[in-house]
Subunit: 426 residues, 2 copies
């Protein structure tokens, strides 16, 4: 089907999907889970084709690892669907209720956004995760995966369509796009698509943000910082920075730059170097860092770099203000942590650092929807509107106002025959 037709069909389907009951949506999710489990062999076979082809095409090993979708990963994804079923329906919630006047009642009710465009690279689990999140929240979805996962994505999309069709929701709410040309068309379809969620490398997300007028939920960079304050517990600081850097290096919430107050740099840095060396982290430091420990020189470019690797840049700062200024200048508004025993300093840091996640005495690696207890994660957003930080199902919702009257007209109020009461409704 033509891309534009698919989008128009999704838009139409989104209207009815908005009013499908929680029971029916959960039944459809259960059916999707069943179809996946009953077709593990078929999925694995399709995935193996993708892997063989990718190997022949000499795609990098890391990509092939992400592409792999075996029985264990399928069962993990199905576990995810089962927890999703248990979450509250985010749709139809009464967010506010006000009596404007006698028998004139206003309700603010959560509803789906409409049509979500998802663009993801190799990992096929993303297809299942995001499309089931969309289903739970009543949104239609256009999916574009990496071409290296073509066969896997086709069978997954087909199974999801069949399952929701069997569950009475039809197939029009979900469409799989396959060509690069489709993506470029999708980026222009702001009349049908309400939100884009790109998952993948930062260059990739940046490309999407730069080439569409449709709002984008997500983040390009994750340049996260730890700041070791002059009042830090230095042992705690070593552990937190070590965890923030090395617990998992290739993720957006791993720390890339360490800031250290000059008053404690002499005591902290040698101790820290000893520990972090065990993980073979390459350290790059500013001039003052290099006076204390022997590390490679860090340039301006380092402060702006998301390494996603065993590399850490270090800067000695002379004040809390300098640390905040550095983070707000070079950071990406993702996650930044201060280590200090001083409550006032910690509060100032958390107030003035302009990031989605501002932490005190804990690892930057905590910024994550599952760790935050959201149950399901749409992604992590560095947006300043709509949804910021780890985004749960709520990020796929908006609201509408329902006003219920009994013949009420505005001229009665404009001409002072009636007055608004504006009372909250319990």
């Amino acid at each position: 089907m033509d891309m534009i037709q698919s989008a128009a069909q999704a838009k139409k389907a989104s209207i009815t999907l908005a009013s499908v009951s929680s029971e029916q949506k959960n039944h459809a999710l259960k059916t999707v889970a069943d179809y996946l489990i009953n077709n593990i062999d078929k999925i694995v076979r399709a995935n193996e084709e993708d892997i063989q082809r990718s190997k022949k095409e000499n795609l990098p090993e890391t990509l092939i690892k992400r592409l792999k979708f075996d029985g264990k990963k399928i069962r993990d994804v199905v576990d995810g669907i089962n927890s999703l079923i248990n979450l509250d329906d985010p749709i139809g919630k009464k967010l506010m209720a006000t009596e404007l006047d006698e028998a004139l009642n206003l309700y603010k009710i959560s509803c789906p956004i409409g049509v979500i465009g998802i663009i993801f690279e190799s990992r096929p689990d993303a297809l299942v995760q995001i499309s089931t999140l969309c289903l739970k929240s009543g949104n239609a979805v256009l999916l574009k995966g990496g071409s290296e996962a073509m066969q896997t994505n086709r069978i997954l999309a087909e199974l999801i369509q069949k399952a929701t069709d069997a569950a009475g929701i039809g197939t029009d709410w979900i469409h799989l796009l396959e060509t690069r040309d489709d993506v470029n068309k999708m980026l222009k379809l702001d009349r049908y698509i309400d939100l884009l969620i790109p998952r993948g490398s930062n260059e990739f997300v940046q490309y999407i943000m730069d080439n569409s007028r449709i709002p984008v939920l997500g983040h390009a960079d994750g340049i996260c910082h730890c700041y070791v304050d002059k009042d830090a517990d230095l042992e705690m600081a070593v552990d937190i920075v070590n965890d923030s850097k090395t617990q998992y290096v290739s993720v957006c919430n791993a720390t890339e730059t360490l800031l250290v107050h000059s008053e404690v740099a002499n005591r902290f840095l040698p101790k820290f170097k000893e520990v972090i060396q065990e993980s073979n982290v390459q350290l790059r430091g500013c001039e003052n860092t290099r006076k204390i420990i022997d590390v490679t020189v860090a340039s301006e470019r380092d402060w702006k770099t998301e390494y996603l690797d065993y590399i850490l840049s270090i800067k000695v700062v002379n004040s809390l203000e300098e640390a905040i200024e550095h983070i707000n200048t070079y950071g990406s508004g993702h996650t930044d942590s201060i280590i200090t025993e001083n409550k006032e300093i910690a509060q100032k840091f958390m107030d003035l650092v302009d990031s989605a996640n501002v932490f005190w005495n804990c690892s930057t690696r905590f910024s994550d929807g599952f760790r935050f207890g959201f149950g399901a994660e749409v992604g992590i957003s560095t947006n300043k509107i709509h949804a910021r930080g780890p985004v749960g199902l709520d990020g796929l919702t908006i609201y509408k106002y329902k006003l219920i009257g009994n013949g009420h007209i505005v001229s009665d109020y404009a001409e002072h025959r009636r007055k608004f009461t504006h009372k909250p409704i319990a």
Copy 2:
């Protein structure tokens, strides 16, 4: 000052403004109100210059009317500031609190968005309203008014700057832009500006939306509908449609198209025509309408037109579904009202019409921040993300996550030494 410098300065000021106390912000607002009242003569004189110049330049009468900013209008604006002072501070609210583990507590706290760019046409009251809303919500602001109001805007911006400087908040948080070139530069400054709020004609708002990557809060069109259902109380319907069309024609929530169910069209339309004729409304109808009442012919173009005038297009539909389909196809997602005594039909209409405001048995003219009881209005949004419908102060806020630990690291959880508790904090 150079536009880009102004934006950079505003960005910097926004960081500190984010943590200014409610008391200090309210004190600054009070000072702004005082400065305006104490300088009424000066403002009126500047405004008269603008009016004289505009008359000489033969600007249209309607524009000159909007441009006028006299003592009464200044006092109205000051009343607005005083009510704003009495509203709750939208910043620093605890939106969620969760214990992730012992002594690891997560807080979701409302905070300002950052830097707001406001672009408005002739009305100088918009300058004061929006900049005080920004101040109350801790946002820095870049303002661009119509060049016809140049002198008025200059004195207003100067007074606001002086007042907030006297109140200890400084002047960097607010900048007045003056040239069209500045606006075009502003539209490109997504690294400093977080949200644009254009107020003015729909062509103008459309231009802004089409030419910036910065999120836009607002609406281009207001193509609102009334649908008179087969189960409508026809007398009530006459009153509601009449009010929706004629109470104030030049506003976004006035009705532009009337849809009537074929089963009641014969009885409703002649009665309705009799009443609406008193306001000299030009009626344009579909073929079936013209079989019942004598009106001009409506073309496809009429269904897409926001008249903002004493014109109404009318279409006879054969079902609720056809009415919904028409609204979702030709409407602008602003405000649509059904008139019916049938609860089930009303609910279906409110669920399936994809608009910010869906009304039952009342006038479309109610969709307005003041009528909704929000106390202050940023504007009316047809966005599907962030803020929809009439937007109060909350629309100028976002949130950040503060996580407070005591040396917590992720590897303890990854390696199962510790488990998350995920308990809500009372």
